[in-house]
Amino acid sequence: MRQTIQKKTKKVLVEGAIPPDFIAESIAKHQTKTTIGAHDIFLGQVRADEFPDGVVHAIEYSAYEEMAEKAFHEIREQAFEKFNLTCMHIYHSLGEVKAGEICLFVFVSSPHRQGLHEALSFIVEAIKEQVPVFGRELFEDGRYVWKENA
């Protein structure tokens, strides 16, 4: 019998690119949390990689959604355990994200800056390694290659 997450957890996967305004709004929402002294943010942006077949003009993301949300949740729990964080938010795009648009937004906050960069790095690396998100790198002419994290 599959274990269900008892607490209502916010979904990480969102449709489409993450707009810059959303990032600004997230920062604004934390202004009332006055025990916070430091924030660190990671933004993953789709890069126009060059291949012999052409230049990437977008990545189309798909995911094993149930397992991905579970993996994101576990990464969150591990980060809260390892680091002194007040707050953490993760958003990852599904669907088409054009070159230059944001596909991943990780936002961590803490009373002090010590350990914060490390926490962010831990989360980003864990996401790349553990979360079943898949990507098709799309070329202008309709051809594509499947993306593989290094």
Binding site: Y64, I127, F134, W146, E148
Partner: protein
């Protein structure tokens, strides 16, 4: 019945995203892989991981519970 899910390049190879397979007894991950690789040409040459009930499998001798959901996962590309 084992509920299979395919993603990315694996779904392209099998031509489907999901299917049900039935075995008389519980099978190991290894046995299921062999079964699928015989059914789908080219699957053997692809790199993929197996998840059973949302957990990645590291030991392929593990038995798959009856009625489990099993996913074949190609390379991750998150972030």
């Amino acid at each position: 019945m084992i509920r299979l899910k395919y993603f990315g390049m694996i779904a392209e190879n099998t031509g489907k995203q999901t299917e049900l397979v039935d075995f008389e007894e519980n099978v190991t991950v290894e046995k299921l892989k062999h079964f699928l690789e015989e059914r789908y040409e080219g699957l053997e040459g692809l790199t993929y991981k197996v998840a059973v009930e949302l957990e990645l499998i590291h030991d392929e001798t593990a038995l798959i519970p009856k009625d489990a959901e099993v996913a074949l996962l190609p390379a991750f590309a998150g972030g």
